[in-house]
């Protein structure tokens, strides 16, 4: 793996949880739709097979919660939402990311043409 590939992997590892939490910040989502939404994010390069374990882990850690709802079309549907702790964490993460992004941008402006 070259330097860039490795860096993207590290980026994904760091951002994936934030993306999931951000996707749920707006409200409850059906698991299947959530997964589809996240796999469509360009650059994230994530598969459904990887997302489900992540969702399960976040649920176990208490950051998200899941509920089943009976569906007339087939098996019960699983809906995910943030827990209060999840909401708190996602706020902190976003604040932190914004801070990092601003800092990184400022470095690029200083290093580029002024």
């Amino acid at each position: 793996m070259d330097f860039f590939d490795n860096w993207t992997v590290q980026m994904r590892k760091g951002l994936l949880e934030l993306c999931v939490l951000n996707a749920l910040e707006g409200g409850e989502r059906y698991g299947y739709d959530l997964v589809k939404l996240l796999t469509d994010i360009p650059g994230l390069g994530i598969t459904e097979g990887t997302l489900y374990p992540l969702l399960s882990r976040l649920r176990v850690q208490g950051l998200i919660t899941a509920r089943l709802e009976e569906s007339p079309e087939g098996p019960a549907r699983k809906y995910y939402s943030l827990t209060p702790e999840g909401k708190r964490i996602v706020r902190l993460m976003n604040t932190h990311l914004d801070l990092l992004a601003r800092g990184s941008r400022s470095l690029r402006q200083k290093g580029g043409t002024s």
Partner: protein, 887 residues
């Protein structure tokens, strides 16, 4: 509806398996992730609107979904150091092994172990007392096996059936877990004290239901996940299965708790309550449960209902045995206990291992390993002297490892007495010493404790003796002989009947193929109806009946020998071997009045054993003499007047017969209350008679003392004529030994025939006779119509005197009676016979063994011929003088 090809299913399952391995090492819940992935795949298929899913479709979908990337999935989480694949497999493997071990193997092993050994039954309680219980318990490992296999293979064809199986398994294992709860602490201790492998595993068995229940819960979760795909939601059919199985457990156990309830009521001190309990048991009780409870075992069946709702301690086995008799009319020790599976311990056969009555005065139940190996009856009948002598030699065999005491109650011919007892010690015959009853019993018990060789014979009721022989050595034999001197029962002056002695009760087995060898001789012609009996004239001019009889034949008509006699002979005499030189005994035959009593009350036993006799008895009653007052009292749960006192006519006798025929015989009845009622009905009647028609009464019910008091205080009151249907002990009659009013009906080999003979006599169609014996001198012997008899006449005379003293109630003459019994070497209510091993033992007991030269013997043929010659001479003398006796 979408259809999957098998290869598509396989491809999906392979993917999920791989995914599970990868996810196992993350902080995610593998089961949840697998479920999510499965549903995602289903959703993809929905989106694609596929009607048939092929492996190619699955491959395309899966290539898009991809396998979990653990590094990414962990995100900011640190990955664990351990090997990811091995740990997941290990956990899964451990889960499977635990489910199989505790949900399938352990319950099956526990069931099999209990079926073969009966360990829990013997130590605590019986968890599988019936086949119904076995089926229910077997259902647990079977249901768990089906569910486990279905979840492994993901058979989702019959989810309702699987749910029902799960519910049923949980219900049964929960039911038994509750039953075993009280002994779980012991099981835990047992586990903790593992000495070696086997012992530790044994302690797991009581935990089997609880562990099976827990495994059942895990299997139910798997069912939800793998088959029903609704983790955490209701399992269809489970509730039905649970309720149905629980109901089945309650229904299968119903006989047990109903019986326990009935037992606890029947054991009440209140007679009314007790009767209610008996009636409940007769209607709804479980016979097998009752029979098991008769044994001294802790292994009574356990059920949840009585465990939860009846905290009262169980009924003692002694009381249960009495209740069993009252409910069924059977003696428990005569019935093989029920067996389930191969369990043979504790209740093995109907034999007892431990003899709790050793040295006592009760015959009690059969002892394991003890049997009658050989039996012979040798005797001689002297019809003209109206006397007989028979020797019964028995060999007992003990195949058990412990010494045994052989005990038997023997019914003697009416008016007979035991006059000889012999025991073989080291191959040599030793004669008994005769002494006071208490003295001989003490001597016997002392020697039994020392485990030496005694034999004891004492009376235990009218014409009944108890024979006790100890020890029959382990894997050895013991030989004893009793000699019985008996008067004949005269049918008329031309013939007399001699009934062979028989066993009423015994604690040893008699094999079906066993036969008593019989050999009876007489100077006069003999006849015996038994099929195995030959009647012949011997070369020496004697008559003999010889052959082999089954034990039950002894108690029937085959055990009666008829002997012809000369009607001319009205007297018999003999020298008294125990008196002074020149002392003689003279016996005269006198015709007795055969007028019927002025009032008769029939007491009919309503016990179950009587059912097959009542139709014939009802018919026989029609022969009752007209014009005589009669009544019938039924001995049932209460004494009931079946027919009130009235004059007999053909019409009311017919009605009475109908009532008797339709008596509902059940259980074992207390006859004493009915006998008391009968006595009261005849209290004011002169020459009244109670005719008591009953089966064996092996269990004492109620107190006989009041009845004894009635008869003893009014010796000229009603007489009690005993008519027994079927062989067996009679605990009431045993206590009436000293009551002179007790008589036996003329014995003809069966209750119906005995009753018929009695009624015939009362109708004036049968004759009855009295034999009077007295001391005499030469001058008293008539010159005609007299025959020379044997010493047995002297013994019978002595017996008459002893019984007369005892019945007079004169306590001042008891010693005189005892001395007489010892002198004439007779077993009477006041004396017994004991054989001890050594001279020192006799000396210590203050007894003297009989002189072997003075004991009675079965005479040699030559002696009998002499006797016959004497009789012939007497007859010739009579004819020459031309006299015909009027008797």
């Amino acid at each position: 509806m979408t259809e999957w090809t098998p290869s598509a299913i396989e491809a999906r399952d392979r993917y999920l398996e791989k995914a599970r391995i990868r996810v196992a090492s993350t902080g995610a819940d593998p089961a949840e992730v697998m479920e999510d992935l499965r549903q995602h795949i289903d959703r993809e298929i929905e989106q694609l609107r596929l009607t048939v899913v092929t492996s190619e479709d699955i491959r395309r979908i899966l290539s898009r979904i991809g396998l979990p990337d653990i590094e990414i999935a962990n995100g900011s989480e640190r990955s664990p150091v351990s090997t990811l694949r091995g740990r997941g497999r290990f956990r899964r493997g451990l889960s499977n092994v635990s489910l199989v071990l505790f949900g399938l193997v352990l319950p099956a092993v526990a069931l099999g172990f209990e079926l073969v050994t009966g360990f829990c039954r013997d130590a605590f309680f019986d968890p599988i007392p019936s086949w119904g219980h076995i089926v229910l318990v077997a259902m647990v490992p079977l249901a768990n096996l089906v569910i486990w296999w279905a979840t492994r293979r993901r058979w989702d064809a019959q989810p309702w059936a699987l749910g029902a199986a799960s519910g049923a398994s949980l219900a049964i294992s929960l039911y038994y877990a509750a039953l075993f709860l009280p002994i779980l602490p012991i099981a835990f201790l047992g586990l903790a004290a593992v000495i070696y492998f086997g012992l530790g595993l044994l302690a797991l068995l009581p935990m089997a239901p609880l562990l099976a229940f827990i495994s059942g819960l895990f299997l139910r979760r798997r069912l939800q996940r793998e088959i029903l795909k609704k983790a955490g939601s209701r399992v269809p059919g489970s509730r039905w299965g649970f309720v149905a199985a629980l109901l089945a457990a309650l229904v299968v156990s119903a006989p047990d708790y109903v019986t326990k309830l009935g037992l606890s009521i029947a054991a009440s001190e209140s007679p009314q309550q007790s009767l209610r309990g008996i009636q409940l048991l007769r209607a709804m009780g479980n016979r097998d449960f009752l029979l098991r409870a008769c044994y001294r075992s802790m292994g009574g069946p356990a059920d949840l209902v009585t465990t939860l709702f009846f905290s009262k301690a169980g009924t003692s086995p002694d009381k249960v045995r009495t209740i069993f008799y009252r409910v069924t009319g059977e003696q428990f020790e005569t019935i093989p206990p029920p067996r389930i599976g191969l369990r043979g311990r504790g209740l093995a056969g109907m034999d007892f291992d431990f003899d709790r009555e050793q040295g006592g005065e009760t015959v009690a139940g059969r002892l394991k390993g003890l049997s009658l190996a050989e039996s012979r009856l040798d005797g001689v009948v002297d019809p003209d002297a109206v006397a007989a002598y028979v020797e019964w030699t028995m060999v007992f065999r003990n195949d058990h490892g412990a010494q045994r005491e052989a005990r038997a109650q023997i019914l003697l011919p009416e008016g007979a007495v035991v006059s000889r007892v012999t025991l073989w010690i080291n191959g040599e015959p030793r004669e008994a010493a005769f002494g006071g009853r208490g003295t001989v019993r003490q001597a016997y018990e002392r020697v039994v404790k020392q485990r030496r060789d005694p034999v004891l014979v004492t009376t235990c009721g009218p014409d009944r003796v108890l024979l006790q022989c100890f020890p029959v050595p382990p894997n050895g034999e013991m030989k004893v002989r009793i000699g019985i001197t008996a008067p004949l029962q005269l049918e008329n002056l031309d013939s007399g009947l001699f009934a062979l002695p028989r066993l009423l009760e015994r604690n040893f087995k008699i094999a079906e193929e066993h036969r008593h060898a019989v050999w009876i001789e007489s100077p006069r012609p003999l006849a015996a109806p038994g099929e195995g009996i030959i009647t012949e004239r011997t070369g020496e001019g004697l008559h003999a009946v010889r052959g082999r009889l089954q034990d039950r034949e002894l108690a029937g008509p085959a055990g009666i020998i008829r002997a012809d006699r000369s009607r001319d002979i009205a007297y018999a005499w003999t020298g008294d071997p125990f008196g002074k030189p020149g002392d003689l005994v003279l016996q005269s035959v006198e015709t007795a009045t055969s007028a019927p009593p002025s009032g008769v009350v029939f007491v009919v036993d309503g016990s179950a054993e009587m059912a097959r006799h009542l139709p014939k008895i009802a018919a026989t009653l029609q022969g009752f003499p007209s014009g005589v007052e009669f009544a019938i009292v039924l001995a049932s749960d209460k004494a009931t007047d079946l027919v009130s006192l009235q004059q007999a006519t053909p019409e009311n006798l017919g009605r009475a017969g109908g009532l008797v025929r339709h008596i509902r015989c059940k259980g074992g009845m207390d006859n004493v209350a009915a006998l008391l009622r009968a006595w009261d009905l005849l209290a004011a009647t002169e020459r009244g008679a109670i005719v008591w028609i009953h089966g064996p009464l092996p269990v004492p019910l109620g107190s006989v003392e009041e009845l004894r008091q009635h008869f003893r205080r009014r010796p000229h009151g009603p007489i009690l004529v005993d008519v027994q249907a079927g062989p067996g002990p009679n605990r009431v009659l045993e206590k009436l030994e000293d009551v002179s009013a007790v008589r036996r009906a003329p014995y003809r080999g069966g209750a119906e025939a005995d009753l018929a003979a009695l009624l015939l006599r009362w109708n004036g169609k049968g004759e009855s006779f009295v034999l009077r014996r007295a001391k005499a001198t030469q001058a008293d012997i008539p010159s005609a119509h007299a025959a020379k008899g044997t010493d047995h006449l002297a013994r019978l005379r002595a017996l008459d005197e002893i019984l007369s003293i005892l019945r007079s109630g004169d306590k001042g003459r008891l010693d005189e009676a005892k001395e007489l019994a010892v002198k004439y070497q007779l077993v009477t209510p006041i004396s017994g016979a004991v054989v001890l091993e050594t001279a020192q033992q006799y000396k210590d007991a203050g007894l003297n063994p009989a002189d072997p030269r003075a004991v009675p013997v079965v005479p040699e043929p030559s002696t009998l011929i002499l006797l016959a010659g004497g009789l012939l001479a007497a007859r010739l003398l009579t004819r020459r003088r031309g006299r015909h006796p009027r008797v």
